[in-house]
Symmetry: C2
Subunit: 251 residues, 2 copies
DNA sequence: CAACTGCGTTTCACTATTTGAAACGTGGCG
DNA sequence: CGCCACGTTTCAAATAGTGAAACGCAGTTG
């Protein structure tokens, strides 16, 4: 194993354990390493902004970089944990499968799934990707991304079925509708016979971080039933957002 | 500089950037490193629990360890930022200096300070340490530590002045009183002529993470004025706790 | 006020460590 | 069944890490 990396990692752990800035010499004593070695390692960590030297004391401390790099992991874990019971409840109530998805590059990454208990089921596995532009789970996310991101995603629009919405203007209008109603729908656009309704999930800061989707065969997503399914997706997403600390502010 | 460590750091950043687990080969391509090198580095990170291999896909992803190591930095920054205006306001209202302290090893670490505008001032600098057992800022923290920690701290009790409380039973009783009233006081115990009152600051989870202290010359901390100063420390600590997300639950 | 101490930092010859092409076993796919 | 790409292992060659010693500096001490 990379001995130098091991030393660098223990160094980071030592810096994390002490809350106050610490000097090279003391660090070397604690870790039983040579002073030069510690200096070189700390210097490397400094150059990469993992560590900062206090200009007054000359001592070193961690920056927020570790946290920045690690916070995503925790958020995703928390999201899955928090969303799981809601996915199950919505699947139970609706009789359809439910999905949890996040934006990943220019796709939707399926983070979690609860199958329906009905005989006719729709594919899709955890860890797979689906398109942003022609799925309900994707549009519920895409509608709340930055203009730049949407523009980039638009370049990737591909026709999947005869019913896929491929016009940019039409898609833009549809995204506006999603923002207005907080809900997205897609029928036969991703794959013929597959339909879904989805709603955005927001975190403490109000940012859309995921979306919850109710999906099943198009034959069951008929006009009479759609409003009910839409309400279920919305209510599920609202519950997850609430548990993530989101507090809607009037409007 | 430690080239190997640099590679390990970029590897961590690459793992953090992608939200889904990623394979050795792809990682090697992205970083333009040899597959063996990436494998050895990732293996090292795995052995130290910074990274975990998804047993199904064989791909690798960050664990929460980075976050755990970095979260303290952010919390301390946030604490200082949040506490600063309160320290200033309390200093203004009381006419005395205010301090913000946290537990560090078996001492109090002074994280921030606002001086009084009165001529007669008391020493103490940011970054220095004071004792847990014979200062108000220390007792406000010590009173809410674990039994084990308090037992360890008790072994470090030292007489600083003729008025220092050195009896274990007396100190234990005093800590109980601090827990009851949520406020600590110390007069002439740390240094003759120095007095202070302090109150604990709690975070979102209700844990005591810091304490706020109003300190000045004993000559100004007379019986007639003490209740008012105590109320100011309590109110200041309450405000900081509130801004950290603490919500007191009845009792 | 000079000697001392301990700090962060730099140097450099030595050597232990990292490197990368190649190959292995495996699992998925057409 | 053959193919491809994956994670993993190997090993000689080469590079990168090591640590004792010394530097300049600041603060402390007799």
């Amino acid at each position: 194993m990379s001995a130098t990396v091991v030393k660098a990692l223990s160094l980071i752990e030592a810096l994390s354990a002490g809350t106050a800035p610490i000097g090279i010499s003391q660090l070397a004593r604690e870790l039983r390493l040579n002073k030069s070695t510690v200096y070189r390692l700390v210097d490397t960590l400094c150059r990469h902004r993992f560590v900062r030297q206090d200009p007054q004391s000359g001592r070193y401390a961690l920056t927020t970089k570790l946290w920045e790099l690690g916070v995503g992991v925790v958020q995703r874990l928390e999201l899955r944990e928090v969303a799981r019971p809601v996915l199950e409840a919505v699947a139970q109530d609706s009789g359809e499968a439910t999905l949890l998805g996040i934006v990943q590059d220019l796709d939707v990454l399926i983070l979690d799934k609860v199958d329906s208990n009905q005989p006719l089921q729709i594919f899709s596995r955890v860890g797979t990707r689906v398109a942003l532009h022609c799925t309900s789970i994707g549009r519920a996310l895409l509608a709340f991304q930055s203009e730049d991101y949407v523009a980039q995603a638009m370049t990737k629009i591909a026709r999947r079925t005869e019913r896929t919405l491929v016009g940019r203007a039409e898609l833009a209008a549809e995204l506006a509708r999603v923002r207005r109603t907080d809900a997205a729908e897609c029928i036969d656009e991703w794959s013929l016979g597959v339909a879904g309704v989805a709603a955005p999930i927001r975190d403490l800061s109000g940012k859309v971080v995921a979306s919850l989707c109710v999906t099943g065969p198009s034959s069951r997503f008929v006009a009479r039933r759609l409003p009910k399914l839409r309400r279920m997706a919305l209510e599920g997403a609202r519950q997850v957002s609430d548990r993530l600390g989101y507090r809607p502010s009037g409007g």
